[in-house]
Every structure is written in C-alpha cells, then in structure tokens.
C-alpha cells in the first residue's frame, strides 16, 4: 500500500492536469472558441480576441468571470461579444471595480449597490459620468499649473489615482463598443450595404457640392452623415482587428473597422468598396447573427473568415491560436493548486510515513515544476523572448528557479525539506504572479533600450536566478526556525542538513546575483555609457550581492553559528523583496514600473513577518526540546 501511494498520487496529479489543461470546448451552439481565436493587433502584437477579453476584464474588475443579471456566469469571450455587438446589454453587466468610497460617492453609489460590494455596471455609472470627467480634468489642470510654474506636480493621492483609473476603464469600454459596429444603428450590416449602394451617387453629389455646382442634396447628406459615423468609429475604435489590405506590403497595418470604412470610400466605386471592406462586413454580419442569437449564421461567419487569415498569416495564426488555448488551460493556476497539495503532503511526511509521503510530495513537486516549465516555454515561444521580460514573468521565473533548486536539494537529502520549500515558494511566487497579471496583458512589448534578447537572456536571467536562490535560502531558514520552535522535529541531523542546504543555496545565490548584477552594469555601459549609475534597481541588486557576501563571510569567520546563519538568511528575504518590488515604489530611476498601492501594503506585511521570524531565530532558549535541539557547534560546511 505504502509503496503504491507515491505512484498513485503522481497518477492523480496527471489525471487532474489532463482534465484541467484540456477543458471541453465551451458548450452551446455558438462557436465561441473559434471567435476567441481570431487575431487582433493590440499593444504592438497580434493576439487572439480571447486574450483581449481576459486582460480587459482583469484590468477592469480583477477577475475574468462575468456574472450577468440573473446570476448566470458568462465567459470572457461572451462578454466581449456583447460589448462589441450588444453594448446596451453589456451596459448592465457589473464589471467596473470601484473600491474608493469617495469615488463611489461621486456616483451616488454605496458598496451595497455593487456585485460583491465593489463591481458596478456602466448603466449604474452613466448618469454621472460627467462628474467623473470633471474630476479628471481638475487633476490634469492642477498638474498642468504646477508644470507651467516650474514645479514638480504633487504626487497623486489615492482618490485621484482611483478617479483616473476608473476614467481610463470607462474610456476603454467606450472605445471597445465602437470597434466593429456603430452602436447607434440597429443593423450595421444593413447600414453599410445601404451606404455602398448609394456610394457612387453620394460621392458624386458631395464632389459637386464642393465644386459649387448643382447637386443631389439628399444623396450628399446621407453619405456625409454615415461617413461621419464611420469617422467617429475610426477615431475611437479600440481594436485593430481588420487585416491589412491585400496589396499592403506591411503585415502590421491592422486597422479598426471605422478607418477601413473611411479609407475605402475612395472614388465611390461600389465594387472596390465592397472588396476592401470585406472583413468589416463579415464582422458586421457576425454582429447581426449574435444580436439575433442565430448560432448557425454566426458559426458560418467564423468558418468563412478563418481560412482567409490562415492563407495570409499562417505562422502568426499558429501563435494566436496557441495563445488562446494557453489562456484557457490556465497552467499557472493549476500549478498553484498542485504546489499546495505537494506542500501539505511534504509537511505531513515529517509527522508520519516519511518515506511514502515524502516521495509522493517530491513527485508532485516535480510534476508541477514540469507544468510550469511548459508554461514558461510556451510564453517564450509566443513572445520570441527569453523567459523574463517584465515583473509578471520575473515572478514566474523566480518560482521556477527556486523550485528547481528545491528538487535538487530533495534529490540529495530526501528529508522532505526540499518539497516543503518547493511547494511553498512555488505557490507564493505563482500567487504574486497572479496579482501582477491584474495590470493587463503580460506579454508586453519591450521598450527600445530593453529590446535586446542577448541581455534579457544573460543579465536578467542571472539576476532573477539570484533572486530565486536568495529567496530559497530564506525559506529554508524559515523552515528551520519554524520546526525548531513550533515542533520537536528539529534534531541535530536535520538541523545540520538544513544548515548545509542553506549555506549551499547562499553560495549559489552569491554567484548568480553577482554575475547578474555586473552583467547589468555592462549592459548599462553598452547603452548609456556608464557601468554603474547608482540607479535604484542597480542598488537593490547590489544590496543582495553584498548581503549574500556578508552571510558567507560571517559564516567563514565564525561570527554566526547555525541560528545566526538562519536569521541572516531570513533577512535575505527582506533584501530581495525590497529589490524586487520596493525600489519600483520609489518612483524614481530608469527601472521604475509605476506605483502599486496594494503591493506596498503586502510588502510591508511581508517585511514585518520576516522580522518577526528573525527575532524568533535569535531569542535564546526558545527552541523546543527535540532529541538534540541544541544547535551543533559551528563548522564551516
């Protein structure tokens, strides 16, 4: 029984993943999957509509699920379809997250009016959007005044930030609703067709009018009126979803529907207009089918459109399709669940059945690590970049690297420590990544100076590996302290083993953080002409190097023994968290990515908790009696 246990746990994990990663295609008659895989150019890259739906919802309301009035849940793609084609219906969905009470007061709302006490619909906001606009303008004016007076504009307070954020979300929503059809016309396809049939006469009339010759007033007005709406859509439409014209050599010239309609008017030749606006009309037809909830018609439109894209954008369509699949599979979310399971198994292995449970935990950590490896590789392929390109991917990579080290440790020591640490670090980093993903699309374009795969692959990977190892050393120390104080399981052998592990990981961390930091300096020398500029992020990395060096020298000099080493290693967590997030919050320097309100709170909480553990580590006599609870005399590992 015990022999089979690890194997059955592994099998269970595999079955779970198989079910989770390959979800059945969305039920129902509409080919939502096919629609979600249609490409759109946004933020500099071609991505599936599915990604747009998910990241927009994450930004606006912090989650991907939408609950519609009546309590039913709809998928992100369904939400997108309603927003694009039936905005009056989408206006009733509560998707705008507002937590600041003063912002709510602007709208005369209280938390109880919202879903989950914080999500509100466009309909709830629309009566007082003018007030939101006025507040936003006021902020802009204040900052403008400060600038003209030669002063630094004062830092925005929480209310101002909330106002600006909500306004940008509402604006984004507004722009989405005019991406494909004109919400003011009940049947946009009809409108285009009508426009097209009267185009020749309309253009002739407008030209005659301009030339001050007699003209057909009705035809000119009809054409001008519709063209004006097209122009509005061109100016405001958010999605660059219409592919470049067939004769356009630049594959990046994707446009929104409005600008294609405007630019296709040309000489007023109806056939040319029809040909150039083929994709626009197709999307309008999809809209008509969606509004009528005619699944057969909708599916036919999707099936008709896809092959034309495959011919022109074959390789890029592969990526777009894979990305949609990747979104649906949510490997990192499932990884989180598996890491928790492995962590619990490994902790239990210290109490009972060390062998069976320990091995089960090890295999489960290994399986989850393989899953995250696959996830990271997929992202790398999609982006065509090394693994770390932004904060989100750094969280993924730190977790990946730390768990890899844990697997090595567990392979050698087989005492459950590697699995516990792996489950813990893996879960924590994926949790951090999950929250970082709330800022929008995580596959971003790299700003000019960062657009260098060589340096991203060397400096960034080395520094991030250094972060991972420093964190891991800290987590091992946390395990040492917890076991020593809260349990009786820290016997001399375990203590020695943990000390050896921690020491080894600190060595590893020193190597990578040093090399990574110096490589960063060399990159800076290549791009700005100075090796070291005392930029906050550089300083953060330098502090990690110095701290790791300090731990090693204190150990070699016999200044600290086992518990001292552990206290120092826990402080490494603080140092690393500071460098990873704290410096971004200073808002200065080349590396700042913008301020994160709630992140600051959690950073402070994390630092306080680590200080608490450091105090625990150094209070004498607090360690529980275990068979040999006294730390062994110092011995360089």
């Amino acid at each position: 029984m015990k022999k089979l246990f690890p194997l059955s746990v592994l099998l269970l994990g595999v079955v779970y993943l198989a079910i989770a990663l390959f979800p059945p295609k969305p039920k129902g008659e509409f080919n939502l999957d096919g629609f979600g895989r249609l490409p759109v150019l946004l933020n500099g890259r071609l991505k599936p509509l599915d990604t747009v739906a998910r990241t927009t919802l994450l930004m606006m309301q912090g989650r991907q699920r939408v609950t519609v009035p009546g309590g039913r849940s709809i998928t992100p793609v369904e939400w997108l379809l309603d927003t694009l084609y039936r905005p009056r219906v989408a206006d009733t969905y509560q998707i705008f997250e507002i937590v600041h009470p003063d912002v709510l007061a602007l709208f005369g709302l209280v938390p109880e009016n919202g879903a989950g006490n914080k999500r509100f619909s466009f309909d709830q906001l629309s009566p007082r959007l003018g007030e939101l606009e006025r507040q936003a303008r006021q902020i802009a004016e204040l900052e403008e005044q400060a600038k003209t007076a030669g002063r630094e504009p004062p830092e925005r307070n929480a209310f101002q930030r909330a106002v600006l954020m909500l306004r940008s979300h509402v604006g984004l929503y507004d722009r989405m609703t005019v991406s494909l059809v004109d919400p003011q016309s009940p049947d946009f396809l009809d409108k285009i067709n009508l426009f097209q049939s009267g185009l020749a006469a309309g253009v002739a009339a407008v030209r005659a009018k301009d030339a001050k010759q007699p003209y057909d007033e009705a035809a000119a007005k009809a054409t001008m009126d519709v063209a004006e709406r097209f122009g509005f859509m061109a100016d405001n439409g958010y999605l660059h979803i219409i592919p470049p014209a067939d004769n356009d050599p630049n594959p990046d010239h994707w446009h929104n529907a409005g600008s294609v309609l405007i630019e296709s008017i040309g000489d007023g030749e109806a056939a040319g207009f029809a040909q150039r606006t083929y994709a626009v009309q197709l999307f309008a037809a999809l809209g008509r089918a969606w509004v009528a909830q005619n699944a057969a018609e909708f599916n036919r439109g999707v099936m008709l459109y896809r092959p034309t894209l495959l011919v022109r954008f074959g390789a890029r369509m592969d990526k777009v399709g894979t990305e949609a699949r990747f979104n649906a599979a949510e490997p990192f979310y499932h990884g989180m669940i598996l890491y928790v399971a492995a962590f619990l198994l490994a902790v239990c292995s210290w109490l009972k059945w060390p062998d069976a449970l320990g091995r089960a935990a090890f295999w489960l950590v290994g399986l989850t690590w393989a899953l995250t490896t696959g996830g990271i590789l997929t992202r790398m392929w999609l982006e065509g970049r090394p693994p770390v390109t932004n904060l989100y991917s750094s969280a993924l990579f730190i977790g990946w690297g730390a768990v890899a080290l844990c697997l090595v440790l567990e392979w050698f020591f087989r005492n459950g420590v590697g699995s516990v640490a792996g489950g813990l670090v893996g879960f924590c980093t994926l949790l951090v990544a999950h929250h970082l993903a709330l800022t929008g699309d995580t596959l971003e374009m790299m700003q000019a100076v960062l657009d260098s795969n060589f340096w991203l692959a060397t400096h960034v990977v080395a520094v991030t590996t250094g972060y991972a190892a420093t964190f891991l050393a800290g987590f091992l120390a946390l395990i040492y302290i917890s076991r020593g104080i809260f349990t009786r399981t820290l016997d001399r052998a375990t203590g020695d083993a943990l000390a050896k592990m921690t020491y080894g990981i600190v060595c590893f961390a020193t190597l990578f953080s040093f090399v990574g930091t110096v490589l960063g300096g060399i990159w800076a020398d290549q791009s700005w002409g100075r090796f070291w500029g005392w930029d906050p992020k550089e300083n953060g990395a330098l502090i990690i190097v110095l701290w790791n060096a300090l731990i090693l020298h204190a150990r070699w000099g016999g200044l600290v023994k086992q518990r001292g080493l552990m206290a120092l290693a826990v402080f490494g967590n603080i140092v690393t968290a500071w460098s990873w997030f704290g410096v971004n919050m200073l808002g200065v320097g080349l590396h700042s990515y913008g301020f994160m309100d709630s992140a600051l709170f959690w950073l402070i909480m994390f630092i306080l908790s680590q200080l608490f553990f450091i105090i625990l580590a150094v209070i004498p006599g607090i360690y529980r009696e275990s068979p040999s609870s006294l730390p062994s005399p110092s011995r360089p590992a």
Partner: protein, 393 residues
C-alpha cells in the same frame, strides 16, 4: 611597536572587518537609494559615494553621519588586499576564492578610476548639421571669443570654478584686456527690470548691453537629474591702459533671452562674451544624416531610436557613415557616443559622449569573479556529493 603592528595587521585582515564593512556598505547604498527621491542620481553620487563621509538629510538638515563610498570602498580594498597578502597560499584549493577576490579588487579599482576620470558630455545635432564639440551637462565656462573673422572664432574659455572668487582672472596673456570678476552666483534666475525683494537690479551688476536693464535673483543650486543650474557672473573688462571697458552681466539664461551672445568692439576687433555650458572640442566631426524613431505597430511604444551619422576626422583618416542605436554605441578615439535622447520632432538627436579609459575593467572582473566562484563552489559541491556517495550504504 611590534604589538601595535600585530594589532594593525589583525584588524585589517580580519573577516570581522569585512562583515562590518559589507554591512556599512548595505546601509550606505540603502540610504542613498532613498535619498535619490530628493537629490537625484547625480546628487547622490556626489553626496554619498564619491566622498569619504555622507550626511543623510531629513527635511534638509543632516541627521547622522555615514561613512561614504570612498571610505567603505577604500577600507574594503585594503581589507581584501591585506588579507590576501597576509594569508596568501598558492594552493589549488584556494584558487577559486583568490580569483574571485582579484575580480572584486579590479571592480573596486575600476569604479574608483571611473569616478575620478570619467567625463560625460552631450552632443545634440540637428539633421544635416555638423558638430565637432560636445557640451557638458553641469559644467559651465566663461567664453571670450574674437569673432571678427566670419570663418573662424578664436575662443578663450575660462572654467566656471575660477569665477567663484572675485578679482583678476589669469588669462595667460591670451587676451588684450584683463578680466575682473565682480560677482558670481552658481544658480540664478534672470528677470525683466522689475523691483521686488531679493532681486538684484542689473544696473548694479552691469553697465553694458542687456544685463544693465535686467535683474537677477540668486536661487539654490540643484542636483536633480532633469534640471540644470544656470550660473551668472558680473565681469568687468579692463584695457591695457587701466581704463575700464565696461561691466557685463553674463549667464546662459541671458544669452537665451537675447538669442545671441553679447558682443563689443575693442582694438578694431569684435568680441563675444558669454557664460555658457562647457564645451569639449574634438579633431573629428559628426554630421547627422538621419534620426529614426521606430514604434511598435499600432502603439506609441518606442521600439528603437537610431542616428545615422557621418564621422569625419580632421586628418581625413576617417570618413564613414555610422549607425548609432540602442545598445550599440560608436567608439572612436577613446570616446563613446551613445544614443541618449532626441528633440525637436525627431529632427535633433542627442548623443551622450563619454570618455572612460577604464571601461573594460568590469568585463574582466566579471569573468574573474564568475570563474572563481564557479571553481570554488563547484569543488565544494563535488566534495559534498562524493562524500554523500561514499557515506551511502
């Protein structure tokens, strides 16, 4: 005496000192990072790192003393070198540690050297324009030029720091008149001739040209990264016969006001007088052929900035086109030109010009430390693994 020597050696070679210095270094770097929100990177470099003592300020008043970058770095260097001299044994077992520490020494020395002799300038070139000089970002100079010849200016440039003391300037006989500094302000606003408290009327500072009609307010100097000081000086010129030629108010802001340098005639020649950002002249020139600013499709996210320039040296040794872009600078005659910025609707490129003879040291250092640590930790790891293997049943 011997005892004292022993104590000294023990102190400077001890690991305890290393740990204390590393801790002090961490505190220094941390405090300096926080200080950057107020002082800017450049101010912090001067106030914390390129100094022996730093005085962290809270709302403008110093609150405590920290050993500065030179002190911590210098002591670390002494500690490292003396420990190695004292304990040096040429054994394979220690080779990794020694390599790594040699790398660290090189890094510290390199940083010290670049702190001492690195020079930073900026060169801003309009499309089609040719330039053979770059301008400093922070330093200024008093330039007195004989501009009579439309083809050629003979310039005598006096560094700003010589203006800080009132009195005669030593121009080494290069000018037909004497230059006497009457007043100097390291940072000053120039206004129209209105009277207000704190304002110094220009009439008391100058009796020639524009300066006499304007006024000046001294303001605090800045070290912020995005602001510059604009110094001002009141300068009297005295002819060989001892008779005064007049007193001028000079300042970069004033030249900006007037849109031209102030000029006067003396001895049958025309002279220009200006306090301007310091220039470094080169015996080669750069001509901007084209500046490009690429964006990612459908966004405002910059993908690349690049300047296509023609490099032409005076002797005709070089005459070629060079593309300077992100992460790919031009290195020429010990100078390095980086794409730093742009202006004027993409018509002007701004290049950062750096002279740092020790720029290669970090590269070597990185290799040494990486190699050293790999050897050292690799040997420990191998030892550990083989011990475990032999211990296993």
């Amino acid at each position: 005496m011997r005892d004292f020597w022993q104590i000294l050696v023990k102190f400077f070679t001890s690991l305890r000192l290393t740990v204390v210095l590393l801790a002090l270094g961490i505190v220094l770097v941390f405090v300096a990072t926080l200080a950057q929100t107020d002082m800017g990177v450049w101010g912090v470099q001067q106030g914390y790192f390129h100094t022996f003592f730093a005085f962290p300020k809270w709302h403008g008043t110093p609150v405590f003393i920290l050993p500065g970058g030179y002190l911590v770095g210098g002591l670390l260097l002494i500690n490292l070198i003396s420990a190695h001299l004292y304990r040096f044994r040429l054994t394979w077992k220690k080779i990794g540690i020694q390599l790594a520490h040699a790398g660290v020494i090189l890094l510290l020395v390199g940083e010290l050297l670049s702190g001492l002799w690195q020079e930073d300038y900026q060169m801003s070139i309009d499309t089609g324009q040719t330039k053979n000089f770059a301008e400093s970002y922070r330093k200024h100079e008093l330039a007195i030029a004989d501009v009579s010849d439309p083809q050629f200016d003979a310039v005598v440039a006096i560094p700003e720091q010589l203006l800080t003391r009132p009195g005669n300037l030593d121009t080494q006989g290069k000018l037909p008149f004497r230059v006497v500094v009457k007043g100097y302000w390291p940072n000053a606003d120039i206004h129209g001739p209105m009277m207000a408290p704190g304002l110094i009327p220009g009439a008391s500072l100058a009796n020639r040209d524009l300066g006499a009609t304007l006024s000046l307010t001294p303001v605090a100097t800045t070290t912020q990264d995005n602001t510059r000081n604009s110094p001002a000086a009141s300068v009297e010129l005295v002819g060989p016969d001892g008779g005064t030629l007049g007193t001028w108010l000079v300042s970069p802001t004033l030249d900006l006001f007037a849109g031209r340098p102030q000029t006067f005639d003396f001895g049958g020649r025309t002279w220009a007088l200006s306090l301007r950002v310091a220039r470094a002249y080169y015996d080669f020139s750069l001509t901007l052929r084209k500046f490009s600013h690429d964006l990612y499709p459908g966004t405002d996210i910059p993908k690349n900035y690049s300047s296509l320039v023609q490099l032409k040296s005076a002797g005709g040794l070089a005459d070629r086109d060079v593309l300077i872009y992100m992460n790919t600078p031009l290195r020429h005659e010990g100078l390095t030109f980086y794409q730093a910025s742009f202006a004027n609707n993409d018509q002007t490129t701004i290049l950062q010009v750096v002279r740092n003879p020790s720029w290669t040291l970090p590269y070597v250092s990185c290799l040494l430390v990486a190699g050293g640590l790999l050897v050292q930790f690799g040997m420990s790891l191998l030892g550990f693994v083989s011990r475990r293997k032999s211990a296993a049943p």
